[in-house]
Structures are given as C-alpha cells and as structure tokens.
C-alpha cells in the first residue's frame, strides 16, 4: 500500500531514533520470549523428573517434602521406614515392582543413594524413558558404584576408579567412610534430572559402611575391615523411601490408602504427578512474577516508542500539511503515523525472535551443562505466536495514539503550514 511505503521511508529518514526503538522492542520481546521458553522448558523438565512411578512411599511427613528428598534429592527425610514395612508392600499382590532408596551420605557434595538393581530396570523419567548406561553396567557387588552423568563429568571420574563416601549430606564432611571405598562400575547417560547428580550404590553398601558406626560416628573398638563386613548379614534394617509400580493403574488409590492406613508404622504414599503439581504451584508465584516483569519490560519498550512518536509529531505538522495539500485524506495521515508504529513493532518483534534464537544457540550448551536443562531450539510454539500477536496488537493500539493525534492535527491545521 502506497501510504505504508511512505511510512517506511519516513522511518528510514529517522533511522537513528527508529533503530533505538527497534533495539528496545527487540530486546524486550526476546526477553519475554526467552523467559516464556525457559519457564515452559523448566516446567517440562521438572515434570519429566519422574515417570511411570505410581506411588512414592516414605515416613509420614508432607507430600512435597517426601517428593523433594526422594526424587529431587533436596532436603532430608524426617524419618526412615523399616525394611519390614517395605517388604510387606513390595510383596503386595497388586504391586509389580518397587525401588527402595536409602539416602543420607554424600560424595563431594553429590548425594549418595543406596538402591538395588531394580532401579536401573524400572526407574523412568521424561516420557517413560529408562536409564541408559554411557559406560559400564549396573553394580553387582557391595562396594561398587554407578555415577550420574554430571558427577562423572564434573569430577572427571572413569570406570574402575575408587571413591570414598562421606557421612552426611554436606559438601565438606569430616566423617569419611574411607575404610570402605567404592569402585566405579558404571556411568549413566545424561537425563536432565537429579539422577545426573547422584552416586548410586547398593543398599548393602550403605549398610556395610555403617555397620561399625553407631549414632553417626565410628566406634573405635568395633572397627571392621571391608572384607570382614561382607561376611555379615547386610540386609538393611531401614530405608528412606521406596517407589512403587503397580500392576494396574486402577489400583493406585486402593494401594495408596492401604499404605497410608498401615497400622504398624506411620507411612505416607503420594502420587508423584499430584505432588509435582503442588510443588509447581508453589513455585508458580515466582514464575508469574518474572513473567509480569518481562511483560512490563515490553510495555516500557512500547511506551518508549509512543514517546518518540508523540514527541516527533509536532515537528511533523508541516509534513502532514504538505501531504494534505497533495491529496492525502486525514485517514491517510492516521494510517501513515500508525503504520510507522506498526512497522516498528513488527520489525522489532522479528529482530527479537532472531535475538532469541541467537541467544538460544549460544546459551543452550551452557544451560545444559550447568543446570541440566535442555532447551530445544524449536519453532515458536502456539503460545509464543500468541504472545507475539499480543505484542503486535499492543504496538498497533499504541500506534493509534499518535495516529489519532496526527489525524486531529491534520483536520484542524488543514493545509496551513505552521512555521
């Protein structure tokens, strides 16, 4: 359309201010889209942490607390559960599989988790993806360990290396189980979940390193060598929690109720999906705050455009009068001025999108390496298109403000040129 080409040329004539507006819109739009994408992807990755597990069972506390320590390795269990209780439900007729887990020790800041081979068989993340080995195989003996991908990568560990487990979950611990080192036998492929940051050892291993410990310290007179310990019965007496896979999903609530009503020990069974949702809702406040801030940043960008457009309008009354004299109708003037804002918003958005993908390409390896979050470089989602549509519409509406003002000027000024 003729008038839009005029708008384009007029902007070209003011390329310095136009570029500044474009930069501010592009930056704010890429920020908004970036935050949105990060939000969606972190949400996905969060929901992907655990999959295919019907129930998580631990000592009675809160659902979110249980989920945090059992799945995310955040915080500590308030209490353990007895091996007896675990066995009772592991042998339940409706239960297909269970994964016992035992937490409480660490290795250089990474949590150590005692479990059994069923973990490598049944634990699933993302959309029912099983754990896979990058190198090596599952542990088979007491003093063997399987490392999560990040642990191996950050500490530069290889198969066959011996590692020492520290007592407690802190990064620096003075109580070391240095008399019973573990041999690395397997390294898992990256999962983007807390599994990457976990050192897996057999339950018996956890039992073994604590066999000569009482109340959190090694008792001097009781010291047992690693070999001697193996002769003892290493069946654990307690575990921290266990995950349950059922034969039929329909039995979920029945088994959950049975566990929660268990008389002999106060247990809590949670549905991981429900707890994840609760946890996410807790975090969504911060998430929404971030989104609001970025929306405000876009608003500031657009208001900057409005300011520049309005400020320039008075100087352009002459231009409007000339256009009127050569036959432009007030509607044309409206279209010209509004078209300029629209063009700026559209080009700004396109640049913002470009900036987003540029940023994604550069930040993707960094985010993945440091936060275990894989952000796929896809086409914009429907939601992102909707956001862009909304920004464009806002640009148009904001552009109508100087547009209508110019329209009114052109009606009142007519062709008289004000000097």
């Amino acid at each position: 359309m003729a008038i839009l080409s005029l708008a384009f040329k007029s902007l070209l004539n003011r390329r310095f201010t136009a570029t500044l507006i474009l930069v501010s819109i592009a930056l704010s739009v890429s920020l908004l889209l970036g935050v949105e994408r990060l939000r969606v992807e972190s949400r996905n990755s969060f929901a992907n942490t655990i999959s295919g597990t019907d129930l998580v069972v631990g000592a009675r506390s809160g659902a979110i607390n249980l989920l945090l320590y059992s799945v995310f390795r955040i915080g500590d269990a308030t209490n353990n559960i007895s091996w007896k209780s675990y066995r009772k439900f592991a042998d339940h007729s409706l239960v297909k599989w269970t994964i016992p887990i035992s937490l409480g020790d660490s290795h250089l800041g990474y949590r150590v988790m005692g479990t059994n081979q069923d973990y490598f068989l049944h634990y699933k993340y993302a959309r029912k993806r099983s754990l896979a080995f990058d190198q090596g195989q599952p542990f088979e003996q007491v003093y063997q360990a399987v490392l999560g991908h990040e642990v191996a990568e950050m500490l530069n560990y290889r198969i066959g290396q011996k590692i020492v487990i520290a007592h407690g979950a802190g990064k620096t611990s003075f109580a070391m189980h240095d008399d019973k080192p573990f041999e690395v036998v397997g390294i898992l492929e990256p999962t983007g979940t807390p599994v990457d940051r976990t050192v897996h050892v057999p339950l018996e291993g956890i039992e073994a390193i604590h066999s000569d410990w009482i109340a959190g310290r090694q008792v001097p007179g009781l010291k047992l060598s690693a070999e001697d310990t193996l002769k003892k019965n290493l069946t654990p007496k307690q575990i921290t929690a266990f995950m349950v896979g059922l034969k039929s999903k329909l039995a979920t609530f029945r088994v959950q109720r049975e566990i929660n009503d268990y008389r002999k020990e106060p247990l809590l069974a949670i549905l991981p999906g429900v707890a994840l949702q609760q946890l996410w809702d807790l975090m969504s406040v911060a998430e929404n705050a971030l989104l609001v801030v970025t929306i405000l940043v876009v608003a500031v960008g657009l208001i900057g455009m409005l300011t520049v457009m309005l400020a320039g309008l008075n100087e352009r009354r002459r231009e409007m009068a000339i256009l009127r004299s050569v036959g432009a109708r007030p509607g044309h003037i409206l279209l010209l001025v509004t078209g300029e804002s629209l063009l700026l918003s559209l080009v700004g958005m396109a640049l913002g999108l470009l900036l987003l993908y540029l940023g994604l390409f550069m930040a993707q390896p960094f985010i993945e390496a440091n936060y275990g979050l894989h952000i796929p470089i896809d086409f914009p989602s429907l939601r992102e298109w909707m956001i862009l549509g909304l920004v464009g519409t806002s640009g148009l509406i904001i552009g109508l403000i100087p547009g209508f003002r110019a329209y009114r000027y052109s009606l009142s000024d007519g062709m008289s040129i004000r000097l």
């Binding site: 005029l6 231009e319 256009l323 004299s325 050569v326 036959g327 432009a328 007519g414 062709m415 040129i417």
Partner: protein, 237 residues
C-alpha cells in the same frame, strides 16, 4: 455553450467559529478557466483562509464555493479531499517538500493519492518517472545530479521548482500558489514566475497566485485585491 468557470464564489461568509466575528464575506467572485489571477492582500487579510475555502479544507459559514462547476462545500469531507487531489495543485511559501522522499518521489506524490492525475500524467504513454523528468526539465531541474540529491540539500529556489513540478503533474485544472516567491530574491522571482506561467499555459491550468508583493502584480492579467472584495466590517487592529 457557456464555459464552466474555474471558480465561482457566491455570497461567501466565513468565521472560524459561529460566535467569532466574520473574517470573510465575499458577495461575488468569478474566475474563468485558464486565467492567471493575482490575489493581493496584506498579511492577515484572510488570503490563506480564502484559499482553504476554495480548496474545500475549510467550509463557509454560509454561501457557496463552486470549483469547476462543483459546489464543493456541499460535498462530504472524503469527497472534498478527493476532489482537491484530483483538480488542484498547490505550491506554498516555503519548505514544500517531504524531506524523506527523493526529488522524483516528491514530484509524483499527488499521483499516489489521485488516480485521475496519475492517469493524466501517463496518458501520453510516458511513465510517471518520465513525466516527472519532463516537468523538471521544463523547470530546468532535470540534471541527474540535482534529481538524486536529498531534497533537503536543494536551494530554496530549487525546492520551489520541485514543488511546482509536483503541483503541475497530472495537469490539475487549478494551481494555487500561496506566496511561492517570497523566499526568493527578485531575479529568481521573475525567472520562477516565467516558468510557472509557461507551464500553466501548456497544461491550461488556472493559476491563483496569492502575494502581498505588488511588484509582481503587473505580470498578471487579472488582479483581485482581497481588501476590496471582502465586505466584512473593518476589524479592530
């Protein structure tokens, strides 16, 4: 068959607002087609107001303004705008050009808004570009060096000639020139007027030339002194 006049004004009255005193009252004014009229008036005498009324930008409080037989104050605003862009070319006192358009784009600008003028400009088989160059050539402005310069770098005289070519493109029936020479020195003034007359003659356009500069008056065949035809009571100064 009587020829339709270019301009007919009948009992025209105009006030900026109803409660304000009248600034113009012209009982009768006729301009035949093809005439060159000099409209003289001191500044503030309502010259620009009269032009705005003739162009249909402002509407008379009462009375009629007929342009080319069309009573334009009876047309709706969109139609008036249309009529103006089809039939009237303008040259103003100063800074006539759109700064962000090239010389050629400035000259062909009216054709973006008026199909009629675009049609007329290209009737002879010329492209718009050629027609613009032809007009610029007549005004001694067709040097490639000048045409490609940003309009803001042209001298005032050159700018006025570009504006004239723009007013003339598509051969509108009426050319309204509002003090187009006041920014030029007297030698330039004469040369500019000669070019303007020549072009108006060629296209058969009626020229309405408004100025307070009496030196130019002898060059025109018809003169109107606005102070004399305007019947409003004497205003306090």
């Amino acid at each position: 068959m009587p020829q339709i006049n270019a301009i007919e004004v009948d009992n025209l009255r105009f006030a900026w607002r109803r409660e304000l005193p009248e600034v113009l009252h012209i009982p009768q004014l006729e301009v035949a087609r093809g005439e060159r009229i000099f409209i003289r008036g001191a500044s503030g005498s309502g010259k620009s107001t009269l032009l705005a009324l003739m162009a249909g930008v402002n509407l008379p409080t009462s009375g009629e303004v007929k342009i080319l037989g069309e009573t334009i104050n009876r047309l709706g605003s969109a139609k008036r705008d249309h009529f103006r862009s089809d039939h009237i070319g303008f040259v103003f006192q100063l800074f006539n050009l759109i700064p962000y358009l090239s010389v050629l784009e400035n000259v062909t600008l009216p054709c973006r808004f008026s199909h009629l003028r675009k049609h007329k400009a290209t009737e002879s088989g010329n492209s718009l570009h050629d027609e613009a160059m032809r007009l610029l050539g007549h005004l001694d402005m067709a040097h490639t060096d000048l045409v490609h310069r940003p309009v803001t770098e042209l001298s005032v005289g050159q700018q006025q000639r570009v504006a004239t070519a723009r007013a003339l493109i598509g051969a509108p029936e009426i050319i309204i020139a509002d003090e187009p020479t006041s920014a030029l020195d007297s030698d330039m003034r004469q040369a500019f007027l000669r070019l303007l007359f020549q072009e108006c003659e060629e296209t058969g356009s009626t020229l309405l030339f408004v100025s307070h500069d009496r030196q130019l008056e002898p060059l025109f065949e018809h003169h109107i002194a606005l102070d004399e035809i305007n019947q409003t009571p004497v205003r306090s100064v």
